[in-house]
Amino acid sequence: MGLKGMFDSLLGRSKLPPSNTERLFAISTAVVTMEVNLNLHSSGQAGICFKSMSLSQYENTRKEIEELLSYSTQETGTNFRIEKDKYNFLWAILDDNDFEDLVTNIHMISQTLIEQGFSEQILCAVYRFESEGPVYWIYNFKQGSYYPFVPRSKQERDNSMELRLKALIENELPVEKNVEKWYPLWGMPF
């Protein structure tokens, strides 16, 4: 925590880190290694999760995202749906066997949200892979890095597998080094 952070605390300023999409594309090259070396296969699904709000400006943004999606998915042949989970967060969920198209669409949605001023309200982007069970790679926009999330039954995650995945893919994918920031995401709609 720097001097600036101290000063912000002292004055009780609440600042949220903005979203950083810089390393979002890193997963499109890492996917090959995942297939070959880690035996992880994309399930063809990805999603982006953001905080739903009740503002007129926000409703317009949501409409715009839906329009953009229906336009762009015609081009790429991606199926999409928009869903609200039980925590009142919104998900744009994409379905496409071409991994490149998934990444492109995720990037497009995040850019739209950021341009409309909702940079702070994006929670994460998630790519679903399959191994013995589901394996998620979650992109944290605040950190600009990925982390693995391997849920098992009943609020338990497979930490040893997550750490193994991190070790094996680190050179190709910017993985979050601070495990405190590997936020678990339960109740994902895909």
């Binding site: 002292l10 009780g12 609440s14 880190p17 400006q57 702070e120």
Partner: protein, 294 residues
Amino acid sequence: MKWKHDRGLEGRMLLTLFLLAAVYLLFLAFLFYSGAPQMFMLLFIGVFMGAQYYYSDRLVLWTMHATIVSEYEEPELHQTITRLCAIADLPIPRIAVVNTSIPNAFATGRGPKNAVVAVTTGLMDQLNQGELEAVLAHELSHVKNRDMAILTIASFISTLAFYIVRYSFYFGGMGGMGGRRKESGGIIAIWIVSLLVWVISFLLIRALSRYREFAADRGSAVITGQPSNLASALTKISGIMPRIPQDDLRSVEGMNAFFIIPAVSGSFMNLLSTHPSTEKRLAALEKLQQELEF
């Protein structure tokens, strides 16, 4: 979201901190020059407050009968807090629950890395998801702003003054350090000054505490993006809700629509309280909501 800084609030906070520091420095200088035997008390209280600060989380949990709950026991509460932490970029705190129907929440701990956020079962029962989120975001803002640490440090010398007021005659009775005759006059002077310092710093700390509450309300609005959720949560918790008619007016018998809560307010009460009045908080949140919409 483009949030403007609340310059007014920040200015008042800085002024309060400045006044507090000034009072403390003068007091320490006075103690030093009066050759008070109280110097060793400084050390004693330092150790005491240090321990209180260091063990604040355990202490508060113990006094409030709060139990730490695992992700397994309270999955939804955990997940709600986890998501707010991800948005605010905080480590996930330990989460505790107090078994009482009174709706309330608090946060403690000396910094973001060892924070505890606690809610009562009443809070979870009475608020909807959006309102609960807003209250949790308020508590997480306290954590982010390190309010526990700031208020502990701010009350350090105030506590010293308080102990001198309470116990200086005992120490005086023992003849101080050297047992000189002229000490008794000195003791009285020290006692009066300490009393003054204690009263002034107490009021300043209370003011600071109220400003921190406003800042945390603001933080909640920034994290959730919905100031109105916190406003409705506060309304529910403070029991103003009954005043808002839920039923069709025709079904409410004549007078009931005009309920008036006996409000305890007045400038003196406001000076002593740790929280701003609900009305003031609601007004501030309404301003934030307007700032968002237009």
